[in-house]
Amino acid sequence: MSAPVEYILHLADNAVVLGQRNAEWCGHGPILEEDIAMGNVSLDYIGQARLLYQLAAARLGGDATEDKLAYFRDDTQFRNYTLLELPHNGPLVGYAVSNRDYATTITRNFLYGALMVLVWEALETSPDADLAAIAAKSLKEARYHLHHAADWLVRFGDGTDESHQRAQAAVDHLFVYTEEFWTPSAAEEAAVASGAGVDVRSLRAAWDAIVNDTLTEATLVRPEVRGYITEGKQGRHSEHLSYLLGEMQGLARAHPGATW
């Protein structure tokens, strides 16, 4: 039983986009130890993306490669959650310029990390042996990512007035994007039907428990969310992804056919 390629690409695109975002902190972290830690998180995501793209490329056959999938697909072909493509700041339009906010970075890593621990736990026993192997490796990393982000979120929430305010603002800004986790895409439904994927809706209660526990410890308030649910995993993105990909893909696309 094999997971559909579209599902593998969804997992890969999530990893590459968040890896790309988190790497923006490299050399600019708030403290040297954290600069190194965030580089590590980013490296894990790029590593996961590589394994997943390699798997997708092998299943697609022909001339597909990990780099063709990462560098030569357009934004509308990317299947990542919208949450992951947002810049490290509050709600602003695509071409707005802002300083990066570490509370936004940490909150996103926390909300997504809590999901991925559950997703990889489920996929570790997938009958798709290749995907299960990637899940087993990624699960260890995801546990660290969640641990790291949750620790910092608690420090921020239970730290100074400023850090509390920043963390609450980040939670308020980002929480609504997590609604996208629970609305299955066609690729996710196909993966469930194949027996190789996981039904995201079955993970919601466990995710709520992780998130609520940490928010309580951090003295932060979980916001009410309603209205528009983002659809990045279906290829309908925010204004931010095309900028991110423009930067990431530019050099590779300027030299099509080159080997690096």
């Binding site: 490299c26 580089g39 980013s42 790029i46 300083n99 730290g159 050099l251 056919g257 690096w260």
Partner: protein
Amino acid sequence: MYTQSFSVPDNAGQKSARTPSTENPELMAAFDARIDADGRIEPQDWMPEAYRKTLVRQISQHAHSEIVGMLPEGNWISRAPSLKRKAILIAKVQDEGGHGLYLYSAAETLGTSRDQMLEGLHSGKAKYSSIFNYPTLNWADVGVIGWLVDGAAIMNQIPLCRCSYGPYARAMVRVCKEESFHQRQGYEALLVMMQGTEAQRAMVQDAVNRLWWKCLAMFGPPDADSPNSAQGMRWGIKRISNDDLRQKFIDATVPQAKVLGVTLPDPDLKWNEARQHHDYGQIDWQEFWDTVEGNGPCNKERLSTRVKAHNEGQWVRDAALAHARKQQQRAHKEAA
């Protein structure tokens, strides 16, 4: 990663005469005897103030170089042209951060805090390797930094593994292992590019043209103009002279350039049978000192970027401290 010869004083350009020693003669004699026997000095050992000061200056300059050095290579992380190269580059820049961390820790064993050292960097008082004050203008710069800049750094740092100060020498052992890997990955990346398209080969040659002379300057001023070197040699902090290291680097690099298929931009570079070394052209020392003194192409950008990251990270560090204190207070209350 990378050091330039750290005979460059922090108050660059002013080459001060050494103050005469007023140390206890007996302790001084024991210290000298240990140095003469090639023994190690450890943090708890007595050492002359000038030795301590020189080491703090040298190790902190080295640490600052690692941290500032994250920026020119970091410039290409977001645009790395393949996922493999992106992963390698992130890992490499992260290694440099790790080197900074060991080095700040080594310097702290001499009684200077990381905050004090960072204050020196941010105020412009402390120096770092000048090579990082040049821009990285195309992707091949990443490979050339690995091959030449890290290569030059290894030449400088291998002798430091035998440095008389224990914590610094031990940090260098680990740093050199990682640097050696960095150099090989840089060279390998360039080999792949040189076997690629015309445009890729042109990128490599352009990067070599811009960085070659800057790398030669990394070894520091000629021995005749390097007054701190003699004392450094005496103390076992410096083991090989600037000019000797530079020569060794050139002799090692010329055949590598040939295999790669790039031209080193020096018309005077040729083998001298009598000397059994390569002769080479004049380094522009005026340009080197201008850059050391803060007036190179990227000095202001590099330093401002470090200051910005530090200032904007203040609230994060404050939060961590405040939370730790609150936890301590809670633990006290519970115990009471």
